[in-house]
Amino acid sequence: MTEIPTAAESAHPASEAGEYTGLLGWVSSVDHKVIGIMYFILVLFFFLIGGIEALLIRIQLAQPRNTFLSPTAYNQIFTMHGTTMIFLVVVPTLIGFAVYFVPLMIGARDVAFPRLNALSFWMVVFGGLFLYFSFFAGGAPDVGWFSYAPLSELPYSTTPGVNYWALGLLAIGIGTVTGGINLIVTILTLRAPGMKLRRVPLFVWMVFVNSFIILFALPPLNASLVMLIIDRLLNGNFFTPATGGSAILWEQYFWAFGHPEVYIMILPAWGMISEVIPVFSRKHIFGYGIVAGSSVAIAVLSFLVYAHHMFAVGLGNPFDIAFATASFMIAVPTGIKIFNWIATMWGGKIRFTTSMAYAVSFLVLFTIGGITGVSFAAVPIDWQVEDTYYVVAHFHYVLFGGTVFALMAGLYYWFPKISGRMLSERLGMLNFWLTFIGFNMTFFVQHILGLMGMSRRIYTYPNLPGWASLNLVSTIGAFVLGLGILVLLVNMAYSLRRGKVAGDNPWKAWTLEWATTSPPPPHNFDEIPPVRSQRPLWDLVHPENPDWKHAGD
């Protein structure tokens, strides 16, 4: 096991802001906490851009035959909205939380490779800026975040947007893979004495499993991006049917990445829920083993379900049945967790902080997304609803009602640790209710629109019965949601200056990050409490009834 650094040793240059101060100190830092905070600033920036893009989409769709945006502008915006939210918001947010909290939660001084950590971050920054530079270099990509060939090939997409898209994602992809490697090595080698792998907090475990998904899922994307670039810039023929390539080859590559990517975007969020619900229910997680184990099952299965994105291609019933079976199977380890979280609440003493409000509503919203997800595994239903607004509603329930609500829970939970100050609970509850109402208003009606026949990715639609009013409801909801996010920004800005001072452990939580000051010193810990169970700080406070006295811990 690794040695615990003492305060005296913390003069190591890698962990301090170094000799530079101010902006240069930030930019040149390799401290995981500084890099973590830079991730948060980056994703907040792109979240606002992606959110504005979403509002532009909703304004355009507020009424039939609207001319607010031209089709080309609309197509660029929905492409950039999807690409931004997935590659520049959700994934980097999760990695940012992991980079900040994994070392703290396992009692380490930093990640295993601090310089690689900085490289991962800056690759994402430059990938993102490169992607957005396309707006000034002949137009943003307008072929969707999935960039199906041959639409993304030169004959049908003559502006350089797709080149920026492919090269930008390649840079981001390299950053994500190195980030995954770093987290795996960190969790394997830098745990505090006594912290066996089955004693790590569930957030750390989920990040660990997730990093393996990253390691195996990103290469198909990166490979296909290179092939697309070869096609576009060097007259290759990988994905061009007219000259002997295959359009379906791109689909296979893209979804071999694309579906594991969905789990990449949800696993660490489950980890956050698994931290927040126990702490605010004042109970140990119900069934640590099954929550941890089912995530491994999901990681394996996530590579075997991807072709449920391709049921409408017509690849034949045997092919479809294989992927449908795996898709049904993956619903089991997913569903288990919901019941484990409810069982954690059961018999607890629940404190309804904003963090807990987000976590509890996550349980219901994510269930909705999961149930509609099962209807895609049922192949004939998929044949009807694929590529309609039903899908848009489904994955927003998974990625917003699921991931973003979990991220909000995590943000309200950990903000005091990062900043040393509490977020305002009054503004927090306002933020929660506006977000909750706005989110459901925006996306619930989209299920119905999809079932009524409204196709995805259309810049406008004819005035068919019911379409206009449901779309208007969705648009109004989007603005309520936007208002909710605005309240969050106000809350953060206010609380950073005026928030109540947090102290080391405001929630009376049990994992190691709460054993140090808020914010933690550059070397993280002066002293690490003994780790003899999954909740070292519980053991510290309850010497009469420590966890390690109970079987299995």
Binding site: F286, A324, T367
Partner: protein
């Protein structure tokens, strides 16, 4: 109100499956919601209470909520597989297609190879007759979907896909391209007209015949213009020298209810706007604006209106 309003056996089968999954899903959602709301209220902390009893898990309970969803999902999977073979039975490989659907940026070509008819954007089907249908694309990936008929099927360039299409109820039904295919994807709509077999036969007879090409008046002038200008490079009109295949076949264009794949009603006024500058009706469309005079435009529109 249930979705899809099926007019075919396949669409009804899908709706039955959907209804079952929806009901099971609703029950599970209700269960989860009730448990969450109940425990949120029942187990709310009061001031200064001691920590609750710590429970680390109950094996048998966890086994229960692992096995029971697995059994339930296994059941749905079996029902799914049966429905798949009912909706999309295997098509014998040597069966020649009755209908060929070709996706283009941004319109649909419908060919009836056994009947000698080629049309665009508006699909005519005889009631109760099963068509072996081939779906493919001339450029990028599209997807053919009419909810009332049942499954959607991607139109992939270089790789034709096959399905049966059958409609059992007379009427007009709407669909659209559902795979994003570029700028004017929104206006790649489909209109399906299901007719009694005798009416369909009459339609086929008319569509397969060579139309009378007007030679006098505005329509006659329009006919002359059509073959002399670049129109003929892209469009086909039987009985003339126009044999282009880039754009829709216009042989009986005036029998269609809409133009520009559903973007506008098929009226002489709209035709004139369209011929003058197609971008006004359908931004992004590949058809160029030829900079014609008002007279030329009205002559061309008159000619197209006469094709019935």
């Amino acid at each position: 109100m249930l979705p899809f309003q099926p007019i075919s056996g396949a669409a009804s089968d899908i709706r039955s499956l959907f209804t079952v999954v929806l009901i099971i899903g609703a029950i599970i959602l209700l269960l989860v919601t009730v448990l969450v709301v109940y425990s949120s209220i029942r187990f709310r902390a009061r001031k200064d209470e001691p920590e609750p009893r710590q429970i680390f898990g109950v094996r048998r309970l966890e086994l229960f909520w692992t096995v029971s969803p697995a059994v339930l999902l296994g059941g749905i999977l079996i029902y799914t597989i049966f429905t798949m073979y009912r909706v999309a039975p295997n098509i014998p490989v040597n069966e020649a297609p009755d209908l060929m659907i070709v996706g283009h940026q941004w319109w649909w070509e419908f060919r009836y190879p056994k009947l000698g008819v080629v049309t665009a954007n508006e699909l005519h089907l005889p009631k109760g007759q099963k068509f072996v249908t081939e779906v493919t694309s001339a450029d990028v990936i599209h997807s053919f979907w009419v909810p009332q008929l049942g499954q959607k099927l991607d139109a992939t360039p270089g790789r034709p896909a096959y399905m049966y299409i059958q409609a059992d109820q007379v009427g007009t039904y709407l669909g659209s391209c559902v795979e994003y295919c570029g700028t004017a994807h929104a206006w790649m709509r489909i209109r399906v007209i299901v007719e009694e077999p005798q009416n369909f036969d009459a339609w086929v007879k008319q569509q397969a015949a060579i139309p009378t090409i007007p030679t006098t008046g505005a329509a006659g002038a329009g006919a002359k213009l059509f073959t002399e200008l670049t129109c003929a490079q892209c469009h086909t009109i039987a009985g003339t020298t126009a044999k282009g295949t880039v754009g829709p076949n216009l042989t009986y264009v005036s029998t269609r209810e809409t133009i520009a794949a559903g973007a506008a009603e098929n009226t002489q006024a709209n035709l004139e706007i369209w011929i003058d500058n197609p971008q006004v009706i359908k931004p992004g469309v590949h058809m160029p604006s030829l900079g014609l005079s008002a007279n030329q435009i009205s002559d061309l529109a008159a000619f197209l209106e006469a094709l019935k």
